[in-house]
Structure formats: structure tokens, C-alpha cells
């Protein structure tokens, strides 16, 4: 019978990742290079998040894995079952019961607490990459706090469109120093990044780890006369009626019908379990509930 070492990774690999995590916490928002390993899923499928989770898990943890807010999509299920198998940890879909939450591209609606760790899957860790493709250049820009290029991009959005058009992966400034990519979470989620839990970020293909300690200042980039707006669709959730959660738009027929539902499946299910209901499918195309 073959058994995996606890949490799949070998101990030297865990130590390497753990050292990177500690340096990342000591320099919030700075991207620490790490020797990303081959994992049992291809690059682009969450290997960075999986490596961080594997390096931090204890047998006593309760693990939640979400993908765009949902516990039940293929990759969330697959990663959750992977850790149940190689670490023997309890798994859960309830945000408030989890001690470690691995997430792709959302922060849970339920506020996180001191005993929790949020592990983000990150595709492109460098917030300046779409403006400057060269790593030595972006590394030097961070060293010099030379972020003018990013401010120009935001300014040009306002000049052309009247507002910043970045709606996800909205850049933030951490403790007034490093500009950081929060991963492709919706801009709506950015204010949640000032929280009581520890936030760890893993990019497997790009081989970078970064971190935000609790109670850390995380400010979305903006201008005094054009302050940051965390946008969401104006509707309420068709299933549970929530007016303050991030919504997914679901096409329901080929005549333009659509409904808006909470992206966070556990949040929505919890509200429905408490008897809260939304307008349902009766909302016609184009209506604002």
C-alpha cells in the first residue's frame, strides 16, 4: 500500500515554502520568489495555492476550498478531496467552521476571524506585468516604489471612460509601501482585505509567494477626486434576497432571460437555510429587483 507523506509535499519542500511565507509576512505585499514544485495538477490550476496550503496544514485543521465563491465546482471539489486524502484533514463548506480556506478569485462574504487563514490562488502575481513585461524592470520598480506607470493607467481610464475600468485584480497599496495584485478577486472584495485573518498568496507557475498579516492597511489605488468604488450588480440575489453580496449573472434561456445569484454558495445557502428568500426566477430580463 502506498501512503503519502503528510500533506503530499516532502519536508525540505515544506521548509522552503515555510521560510518564504515568514519572509512574506515580514515584508507585506512583497513577492517572495520560491522554488515552486510540480504538483498533481497542471500550472494554472491552483498549484500555488495548493503548495501554500500543503505547507501550512496541521492534522487538526478544517479545510474549505472555493472556486469563484463556490464549494461545489469541479476544481474546488478536486482540491478538497486531494487534501482529505493526503493530509487526512476534516473538510467543510461552512466558512465559519474552517480554519484554512483556499480560494480561487473570491473572498468569502462572511467576515473571517483571528483563527483562520485565507490562501489565495494567484495566476499573475505582478500587478505591473500588463504594463511592463520584464521581471527585472518590475522588480526594480518595486525596489524604488516607482508606481507612476500604474497611476497613469488609472488616470487614462478616467480620462477616456470617466472612471477606472479595472473590475477585478484591482491593485492595492500595502501599508503605504508595496503595490500588490490581490489576485483576480472582484474589486468589490478589496475592502475585505483589511481583516482579522492571515492572508497568504501562492502563484505556482510564476513561483512567487506573498502575504498580508491581519490588521494591515490595504488601500485600493485611486485619486482624491476619483475615490475607489467597489462595484457590484445592483440586483438582489434571486435565491436568498441578499443586497450586499457579490452576484453571478446566470443566463436562464435563449431569449435574454437572466438571474443574479450570490457567488458565495455557502453564504447564500446559509441565508436560505434561515428562511430568507429572493424574488426567484420571476424576475424578467432587464429588471432590477
Amino acid at each position: 500500500m502506498t501512503e503519502y507523506g503528510f500533506a503530499y509535499l516532502d519536508e525540505p519542500t515544506k521548509r522552503m515554502i515555510r521560510r518564504a511565507l515568514l519572509k512574506a509576512l515580514a515584508v507585506p505585499g512583497y513577492q517572495v520568489p520560491f522554488a515552486s514544485r510540480e504538483m498533481p495538477m497542471p500550472y494554472g490550476w491552483g498549484t500555488g495555492g495548493v503548495q501554500v496550503t500543503a505547507a501550512i496544514l496541521m492534522p487538526e485543521d478544517r479545510l474549505k476550498v472555493i472556486d469563484q465563491g463556490a464549494d461545489d465546482t469541479t476544481n474546488a471539489v478536486s482540491i478538497r478531496r486531494f487534501f482529505a486524502r493526503v493530509a487526512g484533514v476534516e473538510t467543510t463548506t461552512a466558512t465559519e467552521d474552517a480554519t484554512v480556506i483556499q480560494t480561487r478569485h473570491r473572498i468569502p462574504e462572511t467576515p473571517l476571524s483571528e483563527g483562520q487563514i485565507l490562501v489565495y490562488q494567484v495566476p499573475i502575481p505582478e500587478p505591473l506585468r500588463f504594463l511592463e513585461p520584464r521581471e527585472p524592470e518590475t522588480r526594480r520598480m518595486h525596489a524604488l516604489e516607482e508606481y507612476g506607470l500604474m497611476h497613469v493607467k488609472l488616470y487614462e481610464d478616467i480620462a477616456r471612460h470617466g472612471r477606472v475600468t479595472t473590475s477585478y485584480a484591482y491593485p492595492v497599496r500595502v501599508e503605504g509601501h508595496y503595490v500588490m495584485d490581490p489576485s483576480p478577486i472582484p474589486a468589490f472584495d478589496n475592502p475585505k482585505m483589511e481583516m482579522d485573518a492571515i492572508q497568504l498568496f501562492g502563484a505556482g507557475r510564476e513561483q512567487r509567494i506573498y502575504a498580508i498579516p491581519p490588521h494591515t492597511k490595504v488601500v485600493s489605488l485611486d485619486f482624491d477626486d476619483h475615490p475607489f468604488e467597489p462595484g457590484r450588480a445592483p440586483q438582489t440575489c434571486a435565491l436568498c434576497g441578499a443586497a450586499d453580496s457579490y452576484l453571478d449573472e446566470v443566463v436562464t434561456d435563449d431569449a435574454g432571460g437572466r438571474m443574479f445569484v450570490c457567488s458565495d454558495t455557502d453564504f447564500c445557502g446559509g441565508r436560505r437555510a434561515r428562511g430568507l428568500r429572493g424574488p426567484g426566477l420571476s424576475v424578467a430580463a432587464g429588471d432590477v429587483a
Binding site: A7, K14, L25, V27, R140
Partner: protein, 184 residues
């Protein structure tokens, strides 16, 4: 070989190491918080320092060990190469043996992570003394620091600088370079 250098490792290295790391992670994420770690012991070192070394050090981390009685234990359990202050990833010892801080690597502007971590053996560790603020701290925390002036000079160099793990008995607390150190 003495029994002391062969014993004192984690009984279950993967799981005990995971639990010890979570305590260290929690302490580094919440500067000033004192946590306890169990499962390791070494001649000449506190149990907390021994646990830190087992959890974080191996053949890839040159260690400047200012505690000669622990050298054989470190070699057996971690296989960490010896280094002088200027070439180490970790330095271990009492403050008087580790100070002054000038020789240690503090990282570079492009790679501030390439800095040493100091594992400082303290006579005692209490939530009293210097007022700490900054990332990871809700308001203010207090912690007994070995040399507040030297550590303020370290903090001024942010994002470069050293990160500290303060140890006493089975307890430890962390002082990352991001923490601002006030009076007392």
C-alpha cells in the same frame, strides 16, 4: 556520539513540524504575540529555539550558531551548514553573542527577502516593555525586547532588515522588520 545530540527531535517530524510552524507563522503574523511550541529539545538551547531550528533549517540554510553545545545536535537533526554572521540565513544565540547587527545580510532593494532571521535566546519573554505597532497588530502590543534602540535602527531600514524570533523556554514571539517600535 552523545545521546543528547541524537535525541530531542520531533517524534513525528511531519505533524509536529506542521504544528510548530503554525505557531511560528501566527507569531510572525501577529508581532508581540507570545506562543508556545512543543516537541523539541537541544543541549544549550531553549525548547522553542530547538523547535524553530527543526522546523525551518536544513541543508539549504547556513546557520550562524553562537551556542557551541548545540552544534552536534544541529548537524545531526538539520544538516545545516555553518556560516559566519555575514553569510548566514539564521543566527542563533543570546543577544550579546549575536549583537551588533551590522554584519548580517539585510536583503537587497530588489530582494528584501534575502535577509537573515535571528533566533534570540532571552532570559524571559513577557508582554511588557516596548510598544509595538504596525502590520499584524491591532492597536498596540507590548513586548520585552533585548535592545530597542538597535531594533529601531533595524526597522528604519524597511523593506530591508532582519527579522527576529525571540525565544525563552518553550515560548516564542516574533519581531518582523515591519514592526514600528515606540518607547519604553
Amino acid at each position: 556520539m552523545q545521546a543528547a545530540q541524537l535525541s530531542g527531535g520531533f517524534a513525528d517530524p511531519a505533524r509536529d513540524g506542521a504544528r510548530a510552524f503554525r505557531a511560528i507563522l501566527d507569531a510572525m503574523a501577529r508581532p508581540g504575540r507570545i506562543v508556545s511550541v512543543a516537541g523539541a529539545s537541544a543541549p544549550g538551547l531553549s525548547d522553542a529555539a530547538a523547535a524553530v531550528l527543526l522546523t525551518l533549517c536544513d541543508a539549504d540554510t547556513p546557520v550562524h550558531l553562537a551556542v557551541p553545545e548545540a552544534a552536534a545536535w544541529l548537524a545531526f537533526h538539520c544538516g545545516a551548514p555553518h556560516a559566519d554572521k555575514a553569510g548566514c540565513a539564521f543566527a542563533v544565540g543570546q543577544w550579546d553573542a549575536l549583537a551588533p547587527l551590522d554584519p548580517y545580510p539585510v536583503g537587497t532593494p530588489d530582494y528584501p527577502d534575502r535577509s537573515a532571521t535571528l533566533v534570540v535566546e532571552m532570559a524571559s519573554l513577557t508582554a511588557e516593555g516596548s510598544a509595538l505597532t504596525g502590520p499584524g497588530i491591532d492597536g498596540t502590543a507590548n513586548l520585552s525586547l533585548p535592545d530597542p534602540d538597535a531594533l529601531r535602527a533595524n526597522a528604519v531600514r524597511f523593506p530591508l532588515g532582519l527579522d527576529l524570533i525571540l525565544c525563552a523556554g518553550d515560548r516564542l514571539a516574533c519581531l518582523p522588520r515591519s514592526t514600528r517600535i515606540g518607547g519604553a
